[in-house]
Symmetry: C2
Subunit: 154 residues, 2 copies
Amino acid sequence: MAGPLDRIDLKILRLLQNSGRLSNAELAETVGVSPATCHRRTQRLFDEGFIGEVRAMVAPRKVGKGALVMVGVVLDRSTPESFAAFERAIAKLKFVLDCHLVAGDFDYFPKIRVGDMEDFNRIHGDQLIALPGVRQTRTFFVMKEVVDNAPLDF
Amino acid sequence: MAGPLDRIDLKILRLLQNSGRLSNAELAETVGVSPATCHRRTQRLFDEGFIGEVRAMVAPRKVGKGALVMVGVVLDRSTPESFAAFERAIAKLKFVLDCHLVAGDFDYFPKIRVGDMEDFNRIHGDQLIALPGVRQTRTFFVMKEVVDNAPLDF
DNA sequence: GATGAAATCCGAGTCAC
DNA sequence: GTGACTCGGATTTCATC
């Protein structure tokens, strides 16, 4: 069942990545198979986890989340427990869009969306530096969003 | 026409953000209005740009893009022309998921997805340091994706 | 083992109110 | 905003290769 993807599966994946609300009928016609076949293949892409979820991209500025900030975080100690505690805590913060453990001068790199700089400063003082094990943070305010959340190229 | 969003509009937005393929009938029932009303409201959310596009989230590892890298970029000069040239060039690179102009020790912060470290090293040497005006780059390999592309909280 | 044709059922989209 | 109505698509079944 969990076979590799053929050219048609890849076409479906790419189409749904760019237009997640395409109907099965439209998909079927575009990729050149019958609606029944297309339906089965699309189902499989979901069932086997090739597609996680389908998400409407909400315009951040339209819902009062126009400010984007990246933060370099350094922890006190580099122990597994320290990392785990930090990760558990930051995963709960809803304004964190992205946060990865990296190799280099920082430990983590959260990307945060808030209403404005004032919001961020409050959150930084109240919640970020209070996260478990944080020794230091370095804030990078985003002045211009050049490429934001581009679709995956595959 | 471009009025503010009421509680029902927000509900629709949130539902579509988490399940972009919900049918209008399901949406309508969940938010508690008739299908006709729901259809009109949803249409408006698209027409007025509250929702940009709907995207199937493809699992990166399943399509051979398991490696994530963040790169701090410093340009030679801080002139508008220099920034513009860099932005035009990096926006064309398909493996760049994110790239923002920031305030702080770096100028730009591209986030890049590739197959593996070897891929990245090739790309770094061939394409990143060759971008117009790049003086220096600092690479942060992602060792663990803690939060990736979380939905917007609003 | 996968396909497409057909058949059923349900939702999309539009109307009048 | 709702209710009804029509049309077309979603989803299943089944014969076929």
